[in-house]
Amino acid sequence: MFGFSRPQLIAFLAMVALLAICPFVLYPVFLMRVLCTALFACAFNLMIGYVGLLSFGHAAFFGMGSYVAAWTMKFWHVDAAIAIILGGLTGGVFGLALGYLAIRRSGIYFAMITLALSQMVYFFCLEAPFTGGEDGIQQVPRGTLFGFISLENDMTMYWLVAGVFIAGFLTIHRIIHSPFGQVLKGIRENEPRATSLGYRTDDYKLIAFVLSCTIAGVAGGTKALVFGIATLTDVHNSTSGEVVLTTLLGGLGTVFGPVMGAVVVTSMENYLAQFGAWVTVTQGAIFVVCVLAFRRGIVGEIGNFLKLKL
């Protein structure tokens, strides 16, 4: 199913089971935060893990998705599903425009050009009147799903977010294991060879980039609904940096790595907050240890230990 190997299928079912149990044990709003971050990291992982391109500007697509979903929700009072879809489309459109420019470069230059382009998107968001500048778009209603399910209750909202997350997760997995995904892997391993086989590699990379940005936009839109707020933090380059760290910590190019990374990073942000000034020191130390001691990331190391591809 969806190209899962047996251990992956078991892990996936375990994840779904956890998704079903957790909200009764843990605080649902926190879990929703984890899921939005996880979906964003999965989208990012599609680029770095399977196309081999490091995007340093993914916050631009996450943030634009978040702004558009918040704005349409607040001022047009659209359905929650429509707002999330619009968020995704915005991510995709921006991905197409920026990706068209960026995709011609590779390696560190791709990273730098995405960084520069996302800085320009940030500037646009700072100056454009519709984003509300520093205050952002606030007090966004959660509205209703399909016109009749009210999302004001945290648990109802949670099921929607969990649904969006699983849909996004499976979509990414399906993409990777399609013939299209195989070509992407071929490009990652040896681009000249893929070119010589007659594949227009730039087109493949661009399509993958647009898909990744669309899912990032969906994650951003969902987040805006959960917290009722879309702000400049979402488009800021620190968010781009955070998603790189999240994915790396969990395990680059692994299926479940980004999810694990999101759990760890978000928990750190949440539970370390009470220690005030030590937050950044602890975070920094964890990254240093991670790079020095377990470079494959948490899931990567576990997979390596169990000799499984997770």
Binding site: V29, E134, D135, G136, Q138, K223, G228, T231, G276, V279
Partner: protein
């Protein structure tokens, strides 16, 4: 409906065992005060741990334990991220039983939390944030703006400087909501006092460290006053450079939002002659000196500024209110608690006697200070001399001009 003997017995015994606990809880429910501020970013010194220390000081002085109240203080770092703040505060309210949200600097974060507190019907006492929108169009029945706001700063510093002859202004403005609002508020008041505005430079925020270009533009504008509509590190940087370019010799410098902690960072030889407004200064009178003597040993590197004093004063007044209305009542209904706080007389060592207006604005006095020259300073943190003062009624925006929806009736 018939009740079997067994059920009756079971219910009775359950009630018997539960009752003592239930009563114990009903007598003294724990009240939790959550302090949310910046503890690792640019506003660490203006709020940060000193706010927590001052709130704990209030708790200690009030003697909550002797009065039968169980009070706990928790704190967290919001890293100036509105979405992190919203998620932390929701968790505080839903899971951790926090009743009061205190401090919360950074206007965007403060505004984002307004609706969360209202939804959960808790108490929100803001000391750290500046935006006057918090008691204007964004006001809430669960909210008191405790210490200062952009309008009061603009009026105290702006109008007073025009009166003293500084009738033409040039603004150096951080290009975001707070900076623009401070510039707009000050512009209105400068014009009302008969002054003119010669121009403004809106610079990118965050990310600007060098202001020389804007300072040269300010100099060529021929204005008499340069108004700094920014905060924190930006203010410190711009003043250092104003000094370097000698602008302080040809122009008056008005730091529209600056705390004594920033003056300490600059050093008196650079900051001397600056005009700024605070609603508290440790050396104002015997009571403020007594307060500072009580806390300064606990925070020796960072003496309290008005935000810290506000945290002390807000905690103290909240505790008095809880004592007056009963902890159970206070825990149950945030709006009722706020209304009681507004009705009760407010008095403490830091601000003297003050009142709280219906829109949630506490009317503190506003003091315009000038920073002393190094030769005039006699001891540590002896930085300000008082130039002018206004009463709470004079200092803040008139109730009708705020367009707070609560005030329609």
């Amino acid at each position: 409906m018939t009740i079997s003997r067994r059920t009756l017995l079971a219910t009775a015994s359950a009630a018997a065992t539960a009752a003592p606990f239930a009563r114990a809880r009903a007598q003294t429910p724990t009240i939790k005060i959550g302090i949310l501020n910046d503890q690792s970013g640019p506003y660490t010194n203006t709020g940060g741990l000193t706010s927590v220390i001052c709130a704990k000081q209030a708790l200690e002085e009030f003697g909550a334990a002797n009065k039968g109240l169980n009070i706990e203080i928790v704190s967290a770092d919001h890293q100036n991220k509105p979405d992190l703040a919203v998620s932390l505060v929701r968790q505080w309210f839903d899971r951790d039983g926090v009743d009061v949200l205190l401090d919360v600097p950074t206007s965007s974060v403060a505004l984002a939390l307004q609706s969360v507190v209202r939804e959960k019907n808790k108490v929100y006492l803001n000391s750290g944030a500046a935006s006057s929108a918090l008691t204007g169009e964004q006001c809430s029945p669960n909210f008191i703006h405790w210490t200062y706001d952009t309008f009061m700063l603009a009026k105290s510093t702006g109008a007073a400087m025009v009166k003293a002859g500084g009738d033409s202004w040039y603004f150096l403005t951080a290009d975001y909501a707070f900076g623009k609002q401070l510039q707009a508020d000050t512009t209105t008041l400068v014009k009302a006092a008969g002054g003119t505005v010669k121009g403004a430079s809106q610079y990118p925020f965050p990310g600007t460290t060098d202001f020389s270009s804007f300072l040269v533009q300010a100099q060529t504008s021929g204005a008499k006053v340069i108004g700094l509509a920014n905060a924190g590190g930006d203010t410190v940087n711009s003043i250092k450079q104003i000094n370097e370019f000698g602008l302080n010799k040809s122009m008056k410098v008005a730091a529209l939002l600056m705390f004594i902690t920033d003056v300490h960072a600059l050093g008196l030889d650079v900051a001397a002659g600056l005009n700024l407004t605070e609603s508290f200064y440790w050396d104002l009178n015997d009571k403020t000196r007594a307060f500072t003597n009580r806390v300064k040993a606990k925070t020796p590197k960072n003496w309290p500024n008005m935000v810290h004093a506000g945290c002390y004063s807000a905690t103290l007044h909240y505790l008095k209110t809880v004592h007056d209305m009963g902890a159970a009542e206070a825990k149950k209904d945030g709006v009722a608690t706020i209304n009681r706080m507004k009705a009760m007389p407010v008095e403490d060592d830091c601000f003297g006697k003050t009142t709280i207006r219906a829109d949630g604005r506490r009317l503190t006095p506003a003091y315009l200070f000038e920073v002393k020259k190094p030769s005039e300073s006699k001891g540590p943190w002896d930085y300000f001399k008082l130039v002018a003062s206004q009463t709470g009624e004079e200092a803040y925006r008139p109730l009708a001009d705020g367009h707070c929806p609560l005030i329609k009736a």
